[in-house]
Structures are given as C-alpha cells and as structure tokens.
C-alpha cells in the first residue's frame, strides 16, 4: 500500500467521509467561536458591575448613581507614576459617599483621604497588581507577581514614600521612624531616604573608652546578659550571650579602658550620709534639680516616673562607682564630651546629697554575689573577637575597635525586597510585612548564627517599625522628585563666642531648639530675644521658675553666676531676634487706663483667656498656658501684640490658637497684660 493510501484510510478511519468530516469540523469551529463570547460574558468584573447595578437599583439616589456609573473596563493611567490601575472596574463606588452604609466589598466607598483617587491611583498606597482584572491576581501574590495588597495596618508606609518628614495623619509611620533612630537600628543598618539622606540615630549610646572608671566588670557582665533586667526601659537589646561570653567581653572592655582627664584637681568625695534628714534633703534636691525631666526612676508601684532623655536610674546605685559619680555630677563632659547631660554647677554639699540619693537606688538582687575571677589574656582576646563579631562598636566608642562599615544589610529598599530572596522561618506567612515583623520580634528564629540581637518591643512598636521599613520601596526612589515632601534639613548651628560656650556647657540644645537644632522638650528659643525683657531673662537664667503650672518636665537650675547670666542674656537679646517685627511698632507708654480696662473685659469676656492662663491667682484657674501674673515684666508689648494676632507664626506648633485679633482688641489686651507686673499674693492656702 502506498503512503498516500495509508493516509487516506487513516483519515477515513478517523473522520469518515469528507462530507461528514466537514460537518464535524464546522460544529467544532462553532463551539470554539462560542467559547470566546461566553468567556467574555462570564468575566469576573462584569459580574461585579451587574451586582453593583442591582445594589443601587432600589436606592433613593439610584438615578444619579446610575448616571455616574461607567460600565466596561475602567483604568487610571499615569505613565509618569508607573500607574496602570484597573481597580475601579470592580470598585465602582469609591467616590459615592452616599453609599456609606454599604459594607460589602467591592462596593464600599473609599474613606476620606487627603489625595484624589485620580491623582495617584490605587496601588501606590495599597500595592497589589493594578493592571489585573481578576480578584485573585489583583490582590494576592502569585508566582509571577509578588506584591500582594498591603494589610491596612501598614498602610501609612505608603505615605512615607513621598512624605519624608513627620506627617500628622500618619502617627504609626512617625513612631516607626522615631523607633528606627531611637533603638539604634540605623547604627547597624544603612537606611537611606529617596532623597539620598541616610537616617541617623537619636539615641546616645555611651562611649566605653573609660568604662572601668565608671562601673565594675561584674555589672558589665550582668548588663550584657540582660540589659532589661537592670532597667526595663533600656534601649540596648539583648544579645543573648552565654555566661562565658559576657565574662570575656567584660574582661576585654575593662582591659581596653583608659583613665579620663579630670579637669579639676581631685577633691575628696563628699561623704554620703544616710540618716533620715539627709535622705529627705537629698530626695528634695533630686526633685528641685529636675533630674526627672530626663531620667526616670521606678516608683513603689512599679511605674516609671520621669523622662527618657537620659538613662533610667532605678538601680543606678548598683552600677556606678562613687568616685566616678562625683566627677560626673561636677561636670559630665570630662567623662563624655558628647553627653546630653548639662553641667550643673553643684557645690560639694549638693554633690554629696545627690550621691546619697543615687547610691540608695540600688538593687542587691541584680548583681547578686557574683565575683568574676581575674581575666586571663586569652579571655580578653576572645572578648575582643566577640566585640568585633557582635558589632558593639557600631554604637559604642571602644579603644582599639573601629566602627564597622556596612555591618548589617542595608535596608534602603527593604520594602521592595523580592520574596524569592527571603528565607522564611517556619510558621511565618509568606508576605513581606509578616517577614519584617517576625524578624524584628524574634531575629534568632531565622537562625541561631544571626547577629541581630533580641529587642524588647510591644506589638504596636513592631508594627510601627515594620510600617517605617515598608516605606523603603523601589517605587519611592523612582517617583518624580517633585512629589517629595522634603524633611527639614538637619542643622549643626553653633552659637558663637562666650555665650556659645555657655550654651554648650549647659547643653541647652538637649531640650531647646534654636535655629533648627536641638530637642523638643522645652520651648523653641530661635526668637527668644524678641519675646522677653532683658531684666527678666537675667533673673530667669539665675533662677528658672516654672511658667506653666501643668508642666511636668522643667528647666533645672544651673547656678549660673551673675556674669554668666548677663553674657547669655545679652547674646539672646541681640541674636535671637525675629525679622517679623520691630519692637518700636507698639508704644506701650501710650496705653491708657481705659485701654487696660477694655483689655481686661476682652481677656475675661470675649476671648476667655482665663480658661488657659492665670492672671489673678485667686480667681483664674487655667492650667495650660503660662501663668501671666507677671507677664508685664517678662514679655515685650510688641511680642504680646503679635502673639495675640498670630502666635503660630512666631512659634510654630505652640498650643496658643491663632486668634487673628483685630488691631484694636489686640492693643487693648496687650495693654491689660503689660500692666501685670506684680505677683498678687494668693489668698487661698496652697494645697
């Protein structure tokens, strides 16, 4: 049989004669042709659009809803942002606020946000696959698409792609960024913003160059074993070291320590007496010195009382050596030139009292009775190796160990890290957010050899950290620079001359901000010279009193000399002047008694200033703003006048609302306030 015949018989065998084969093929073709429109008809999004039309059908505003509804595939396309979002195909009612009662997705209206949906699309904030038109592909991660929808609790991460500065409406992002700086994350991991600026730490890890002068090897070993056992609020993480490791590291740290130069001749340490009277006296000195503005101590109820700028002092008596404490209290800079602790000009008696108070803050259980045997050279050598391995020098200054570079993986793009490159610990869901959270919660669950230490963080803090890290995306780098809301540039402002030295000596920048540099615990002083009167300022510097009754953190008394107070006051009065107005604009000598009387009426009536301020201590109770009993000796008339008009422009972020007072009212209230010069005696007994 020829080949041709064979084919023909096979054909006949399979399809019968030509006519019926043609018929079969036609039928197959018809069915195939029907599949395409059928597939089209049963598309997921068409079903949702029909469902939506049924949903709005019976509603009162059905007509307008139907009119605004656009069927078919919808798309938000913004090539410059790399956005192709078809989400609105199914999420038909995002802009329909009248559907607020609808709780079923995809038909819920979008909650209020500061951006228009057509401005950024959907995936810039929510992630997911914008171009997809099926539920599964748009929301979940698939093998070829790794960016699932971002869970709602991390949504603020998306704000952080453009908003590089603090953002009022994104507290979790702010908290996370603060925590990255405060817990020292950024000291090991490099994290750059899309503007190229590297994040820096806001913690102040102490240098260990002279550690042997400060504390004992036993304390170092116990601290290394578990920092939170010494102070619950300690930000140093637990490196989960074995006993022999803490023994060797402490041996090395003591061995590398060098003596520090005390500037003053060593005076005999004042005796710390522990009798009841001096305990009372030392406790009140600790209070009067406002140590608790920065340092916290656990009270009897186990609550931490005090600030967190300096270390917690609950067990400080078990930590520091008395000789060191004497030097430290006299002038902290001799031990640590970069410290945030101010130079209190304490006398010998005060130093003795404070030492008495601080050494009573001890806990015999913390150190126990452990005594470490003298260190061997081998232990010291191993200690050094461990210090290098663990990266201690990332945070602390250590003799003979350089600060390592690129010690830990850079996290600049961690928010876009591909899942295929991540090794998930068992039990961790395969999403980036879960990975980051698990990694922060229990770093060693990803392998015991990992260097990352164990932090003690609340679940809210871990979510906040994850939010800040998820903001570090590839997209943030590629978005047009014009969209970025820049952060305020860091300032390294240094005041000049003698006053500059005093400001440095008293570490004013630890609490006050001047010209963009400094802390936020105390009022900003950039324009202080325009605000206050010189005589008041000199007096205040010598004896700072509290202006706000409700304030918990307060300015300590530094015992400055008259000459120092005058130097500082002159500098502040001359340099910290606002260009916004000039003192001569308001002539306070022309205020008449009638002005004052009118001002008083306005103060108590129209503006009800007594809700927040006290002018007459017998009558007024307002607790929020500064007491104004002597405001006439404190502030200048022009400053008060401008303040009443627009306080926010003089000191952004102040609690005083912008009153926008007209000139006449502002002038009258100023006249009333300028007359408040003498503190009237409070008739009721102080509680």
């Amino acid at each position: 049989m020829s080949f041709r015949k064979r084919v023909r018989s096979a054909w006949q065998y399979l399809f019968g004669d030509s006519a019926s084969a043609f018929g079969t093929l036609s039928a197959v073709l018809l069915i195939l042709l029907a599949v395409v429109p059928a597939k089209d008809y049963f598309r997921e999004w068409l079903g949702y659009q029909k469902q939506y039309l049924r949903l709005i059908h019976g509603r009162g505003d059905a007509n307008s809803l139907t009119r605004r509804f656009q069927g078919g595939l919808q798309q938000i396309w913004m090539p410059e942002l790399d956005v192709v979002d078809r989400c609105t195909t199914c999420h038909t009612a995002l802009k329909e606020t009248s559907l607020a009662d609808v709780k079923t997705q995809p038909f819920r209206p979008h909650p209020v946000i500061p951006h228009k949906l057509t401005e950024f699309g959907c995936v810039i904030c929510h992630r997911g696959q914008g171009a997809a038109t099926t539920v599964e592909e748009a929301h979940s991660s698939t093998k070829s698409w790794e960016e699932p929808i971002l869970p709602a609790r991390f949504l603020e991460a998306s704000c952080g792609q453009c908003h590089l500065d603090r953002l009022l409406g994104a507290p979790r992002l702010n908290q996370g960024r603060d925590a990255l700086a405060q817990y020292g994350c950024v000291r090991c991991h490099t994290i750059k913003g899309p503007d190229g600026v590297t994040m820096t730490g806001s913690d102040a890890p102490p240098p260990l160059l002279h550690i042997a002068e400060k504390t004992t090897r036993e304390w170092i070993a116990a601290w290394l074993k578990n920092p939170q056992a010494y102070a619950g609020s300690a930000t140093m993480p637990n490196f989960q070291l074995a006993d022999d490791e803490t023994r060797d590291i402490s041996a090395f740290l003591i061995a590398q320590s060098t003596p520090y130069q005390t500037q003053k001749a060593p005076e005999p340490a004042p005796a710390a007496s522990q009798d009841a009277a001096s305990v009372q006296e030392s406790t009140s000195l600790y209070g009067e010195s406002f140590c608790s503005s920065c340092h916290a101590v656990q009270n009897a109820a186990g609550m931490l009382v005090g600030g967190n700028l300096g270390p917690e002092l609950t067990r400080v008596g078990s930590k520091v050596k008395t000789e060191w404490l004497v030097d430290w209290l006299r002038d902290p800079k001799t031990y640590d030139p970069e410290t945030r602790m101010p130079h209190y000009r304490l006398g010998a008696k005060e130093v003795g009292l404070l030492i008495g108070f601080l050494s009573s803050k001890s806990d015999s259980d913390f150190l126990g009775t452990t005594q470490l045997a003298a260190a061997t050279p081998a232990q010291i050598e191993r200690g050094k190796t461990l210090v290098i391995e663990r990266g201690c020098a990332n945070c602390h200054g250590i003799n003979g160990v350089k600060k390592p570079e690129n010690f830990a993986p850079e996290l600049t793009l961690v928010g876009s890290r591909p899942l295929e490159k991540i090794l998930f610990a068992p039990g961790v869901p395969h999403t980036l957010a879960d990975y980051i959270g698990a990694k922060i919660r229990q770093p060693r669950s990803f392998g015991n050899a990992l260097k990352m230490p164990q932090y003690t963080l609340a679940p809210q803090q871990i979510d906040a950290l994850a939010t800040a890290l998820l903001a570090q995306t590839q997209r943030a780098q590629t978005l047009p620079a014009s969209l970025r809301i820049p952060r305020s540039a860091p300032s390294n402002y240094r005041p000049a001359a003698k006053a500059g030295q005093l400001i440095d000596d008293m570490r004013c920048f630890s609490c006050h901000k001047i010209n963009g540099r400094g802390g936020d615990m105390a009022p900003e002083l950039t324009w202080e010279g325009s605000s206050v009167q010189r005589a008041w300022l000199v007096n205040f510097l010598k004896n700072p009193n509290t202006l706000r009754p409700a304030l918990i953190r307060r300015m300590p008394k530094f015992d400055v000399t008259d000459a120092e107070a005058i130097t500082l006051a002159d500098y502040i009065m001359t340099v910290y002047q606002t260009p916004a107005f000039d003192q001569e604009t308001l002539d306070s000598s022309r205020f008449t008694p009638a002005d004052m009387e009118h001002g008083k009426e306005l103060f108590y009536g129209k503006y009800a200033c007594q809700s927040c301020h006290i002018v007459d201590p017998n009558k007024d109770k307002g607790y929020i703003g500064p007491t104004l009993t002597q405001v006439g000796t404190r502030l200048t008339a022009s400053w008060i006048f401008r303040w009443l008009k627009n306080a926010q422009s003089l000191r952004p972020g102040t609690l005083e609302p912008v009153w926008n007072m007209n000139d006449e009212d502002a002038r009258a209230v100023t006249a009333f306030l300028v007359a408040q010069k003498n503190a009237p005696r409070k008739e009721v007994a102080q509680k």
């Binding site: 009162g60 709780k103 909650p111 209020v112 709602a152 949504l155 918990i552 927040c612 607790y623 609302p657």
Partner: protein, 243 residues
C-alpha cells in the same frame, strides 16, 4: 439495587459526620468548670488604627449564678470583619478572668466582638463588646485632638498631660458624649470648632480654631467625634422626593 444505593449513602453520611467530629476535637480545650454569665472587665470601646492591635487587652470574667468568679471556664472570642484574637479561646484563670489581645479589621468603623461561654447544660452565655477602628481621617483627628483639644475635653489626666477640664466654668463635652454630639450636625460642629463658642452663643472658653487648623483637620476632628461617639452616631440619610 435500591438497597445498594441506600447503603452507599449511609456509609458516606457516616464517614462525613465522623470526620467532622474528628476534625473539631483537637482544637477544643476542655472546660474544667462552668459559669452562667460572662461580664466585661476592661478593654471595651478602645480606638485604634485599622488593622492594628488594641493598646489594652480585652479582659472578661466568667461568673456563676451567685455572681462569683469561676476559674477554668472556657471562653471563646469571635468577631466579624477580620477581627483576630490572640488567643481566641482558653480557660479563665484563678481570678475567673480571661484576657486576649485584639486586632481590628482592615476597614474603619465599629467592630462588635463576642466573648462566650457555656454553662453545664450547654446553654451559651455571652457578652458583646464594641471596639473602634480609626481610618485615616479619624487618626488625623486623634492627632489634632491630642494637641489642641483633649486637655479641656478629657477630664482624665495622664502622666504626660494634666487635664484642664475642671478649671473651666463651662463643662467641655467629652468626645464620647454621643447624647449631645449626635444631635449636632457636621456643619454645627465645624462652626463651633472654627468660630469658637462665643460666636455661637456658647461659652467663650472654647476658642476659635478656624485659623489654627486647616479645613481637612477640622473635618478630621468631626470624623473622630463621630467614630468615638457613644451611643454610636447614625448619620441621617438623604431624603429624596417621590421615593
């Protein structure tokens, strides 16, 4: 033939039912004691960002008929809309209490969670607890409120801030005061925040914030008030002629 089919059906039913029982069994913690009522101890009406863990755990207590706490009773938490519990069930402790950390769902609004136990006869007793998830707008409102508003409107002092509430002659309304605030429209609230109390014939102790806060911030404040309101705020619907 018919009997054969019946046999198969009986077999299939038997297998599925035994499977179901089998699957449910290992997760079940066995109660050691039974109470007849669940009461809330603490942790209701907390406000937190969408999807996030509430600051304070939710604590409930199982009591018996006489109202004394029952230790070892089984408590089971449930909630709709993506609420999760850590843990979602367990036995009450020696004080008769059970505490769980609650994560809210991903959309803003109110979430009702249910803590349930059963008495010895299998009858269920439960307590319903409301929690509030704040969306972007309400979160912004909370930030604004923390800076400008709560010092007077919250009578509780915290270590960070001393309340000024009792220093005022007019009693500032708490933001949860639904009885008063629900009766005010958004426009009225915006007016009193923006123009102050005096401009609306109320106490001048409420300053005008119209020049301090932006419009979105004032709207966010209103959003926060609506979210926190107790009893819950129900917006008036839109009325259409002819329908």
């Amino acid at each position: 033939m018919n009997r054969g089919w019946l046999g198969w059906i009986v077999l299939a039913l038997g297998m599925t039912s035994s499977c179901a029982r089998h699957a449910a069994a290992p997760a079940e913690a066995q109660p050691k004691a039974f109470g007849s009522a669940v009461v809330l101890v603490s942790g209701d009406k907390q406000a937190a960002g969408v999807g996030s863990v509430l600051d304070q755990p939710v604590v409930v207590q199982v009591n018996d008929d006489k109202g004394t706490a029952v230790a070892g009773a089984l408590i089971r938490f449930a909630g709709a809309g993506g609420v999760t519990f850590d843990p979602d069930h367990g036995l009450t402790g020696s004080d008769g209490q059970f505490s769980t950390n609650v994560s809210l769902g991903g959309t803003h609004g109110r979430y009702q969670i249910v803590a349930a136990t059963t008495d010895s006869s299998g009858k269920a007793a439960e307590v319903r607890i409301d929690e509030i998830a704040l969306g972007y707008q309400e979160t912004l409102g909370q930030q604004v409120s923390d800076i400008h508003c709560v010092r007077c409107h919250d009578s509780e002092s915290t270590p960070q801030r001393v309340s000024n509430h009792d220093n005022l002659t007019a009693q500032a309304h708490a933001f949860t005061d639904g009885a008063t605030l629900n009766a005010m429209s958004d426009a009225e609230l915006a007016a009193i925040i923006g123009h102050g109390g005096a401009a609306l014939g109320k106490s001048a102790e409420m300053p005008p914030y119209g020049n301090t806060l932006t419009k979105p911030e004032i709207d966010a404040m209103i959003g926060l008030l609506r979210a926190l309101s107790d009893p819950p705020y129900r917006p008036q619907g839109i009325f259409y002629a002819g329908k």
